[in-house]
């Protein structure tokens, strides 16, 4: 692995993302509308509940969680599946396969630049606004470092899920359906649209151990110091869960990809 290549790819990715200024602005605007909707929806839920805390979360807790989840979603969202299915259909994938680099690594680092840009343009401003508005609801300390580590692990888990679904595209000619299913599952089970604390107990027991939670719920839990993550004994299992999924999904993804590429080179694409 040569760091020069990875830096060069990241650099190009940053420059490419910056070309689409308008796109970023529109995304931010759309999020604002989404958040207004979320605000009134949850306000209604809390009003009708009659108590200040529902499932151990106050209205403010829920709002902070969901706003940051949306910000995190914008920053972590990847379009590997779309891009890959398009390049399979156009045949451009041949050109990517003929780069003198491991294909999965090449793909990952082609996206890293856009993550950097979205982190700076989308996540950071949201985070700062939330911080100012809630006056100190977010603790400023070591949890920020744990949050960054958790986010990097989340990124790896997310990429590997994307990549496994993208590999499926090598077999099916229609990607749209598969991708919608994947997106819905990830959004629901990761805590990006409903905090996992609100899930029924049985469902929560299962969801807690699934990889999707590692993408949004774990980084946010760590950041907001919920679920005992302000102490190492609560924190390490969370990061451990992420690490285990990151490693196993990476292994599964690599094996699946290598097998599929071999099949494609045998049968033609």
């Amino acid at each position: 692995m040569n760091p020069k290549r990875l830096i060069a790819l990241t650099r190009a990715g940053i420059m490419e993302s910056l070309q689409f200024r308008l796109g970023t602005a529109v995304t931010l605007f759309a999020n604002l509308i989404y958040l207004v909707l979320v605000y009134y929806l949850w306000k209604a839920i809390y009003d009708s509940a009659g108590t200040d805390t529902v499932n151990g979360m106050t209205f403010t807790d829920t709002m902070i969680y969901l706003i940051l989840a949306t910000a995190l979603f914008n920053f972590l969202e990847m379009f590997v599946v779309w891009d890959m299915s398009r390049s399979i259909q156009s045949g451009k994938i041949v050109l990517d396969l003929l780069k003198p680099m491991n294909f999965r690594r090449y793909t990952f680092w082609s996206y890293s630049g856009s993550h950097v840009v979205l982190f700076a343009l989308s996540f950071l401003p949201t985070f700062i606004v939330v911080m100012i508005v809630t006056h100190g609801a977010i603790h400023m300390g070591i949890n920020l470092i744990w949050f960054i580590i958790a986010t990097v692990l989340a990124l790896i888990v997310n990429f590997n899920i994307e990549m496994i679904v993208a590999t499926l595209c090598l077999y099916t000619e229609s990607t749209w359906g598969i991708n919608i299913v994947k997106e819905t599952i990830v959004l629901l089970l990761s805590g990006a649209s409903i905090p996992i604390a609100f899930f029924p107990e049985r469902a929560r027991d299962i969801v807690e151990y699934l990889p999707f939670r590692a993408i949004y719920d774990v980084p946010l839990t760590v950041l907001l110091q919920k679920g005992g993550s302000d102490e190492l004994s609560g924190l390490l299992p969370l990061l451990g869960l992420q690490a285990v999924w990151a490693i196993s999904l990476f292994a599964i993804g690599t094996a699946f990809w290598n097998y599929s590429v071999r099949k494609i080179t045998v049968n033609g694409g």
Partner: protein
């Protein structure tokens, strides 16, 4: 001379699902295990020397792209052996990629929204080209083409000609031993075609790069290739110098005679079978000949004859 590419008895079969007609057929296809095998390339052997420019020709669907994909390592041959730069391409695709460059006519490997120079820098880092070599290469490029108008232009704003030119430059950037050009002049105007041909020739002579060129434009072949390989229905049907081509399939020439009544009499003559003088004599007995023209048959016409001939057989 050293061989850049060696292919020995290479075959490539594809398995395709037998599709059925209509809605009922489509539903049946969902569960069908009814495959048929299509042989895209049949027993092709080929040796390409270092520094050669080879025209790889054949009608649409003849198996040209399949062969190129096997040489680059994207496809694995069903049987036979391919060695490219001493490597087995499909086994060491990544390593093989370091020594080859590719241009696929209508697709671009450049970064769409970035200026060309950024794509060059990125490719330089990806292929780990030493600084000195990179600078020398850019210098060579600017001596061959006018880089100024394209170097700082985003690729998406380029004309097709500029983009193709840029893609060819990008493929040569890491000074590969072999460059595959798959229909590089498709859709280009006459002057751009000429520019691209002289660029390819220039790079080939300066860097001794082996060039495998597939094209349907006989102008490309006449301008660039000394040797051509023709493949049809997966089988190699010709592999020799371009000069031999015309005589190989009969030494054809067209005879035009203007007769006394000002009508033209045209005949395509295979000189190995017919004698031109004899035809003129016979004709002269019928009528007085006012004018005689003898035309060499063009490469294009020979190729057309070959394609049509093999399609009929």
């Amino acid at each position: 001379m050293e061989n850049a590419i060696v292919m020995k008895n290479v075959c490539k079969d594809f398995k395709v699902l037998n599709r059925h007609e209509g809605l009922k057929g489509s539903i049946r296809d969902l569960f069908s295990r009814d495959y048929k095998t299509i042989s895209a390339v049949k027993d092709v052997s080929l040796e390409i020397k270092k520094g050669e420019v080879i025209g790889y020709l054949g009608p649409n669907g003849a198996g040209k792209s399949t062969t190129i994909k096997m040489m680059t390592g994207v496809l694995e041959p069903t049987s036979g052996e391919i060695i490219v730069n001493g490597l087995v391409p499909y086994k060491e695709r990544t390593k093989n990629s370091e020594n080859i460059g590719v241009v696929f006519g209508q697709r671009s490997q450049l970064w769409w929204s970035l200026p060309l120079i950024e794509s060059f820098k990125l490719l330089r880092d990806i292929y780990m080209v030493p600084k000195k070599e990179y600078e020398d290469m850019l210098e060579l490029y600017s001596s061959l083409v006018d880089l100024e108008p394209i170097l700082h232009k985003p690729v998406r704003q380029m004309s097709l000609g500029q983009r193709t030119l840029s893609d060819i430059l990008a493929a040569f950037l890491h000074n590969p031993d072999i460059v595959f050009l798959d229909e590089p002049t498709i859709g280009l105007d006459v002057s751009m075609k000429a520019k691209i041909r002289s660029l390819i020739l220039g790079l080939n002579s300066q860097k001794n790069t082996t060039v495998i060129l597939t094209t349907h434009d006989m102008g490309d072949v006449d301008a660039l290739c000394r040797r051509i390989v023709i493949i049809d229905k997966g089988t190699k049907i010709y592999d020799n110098d371009i000069e031999h081509l015309k005589s190989y399939f009969g030494s054809y020439r067209t005879l035009h005679l203007r007769m006394a009544d000002d009508t033209w009499y045209d005949e395509v003559i295979d000189e190995s079978k017919q004698d031109i003088m004899e035809i003129i004599m016979t004709k002269q007995k019928e009528q007085k000949i006012k004018d005689i023209k003898l035309e060499e048959i063009s490469t294009e016409e020979v190729i057309k004859k070959i394609y049509e001939g093999s399609a009929a057989s």
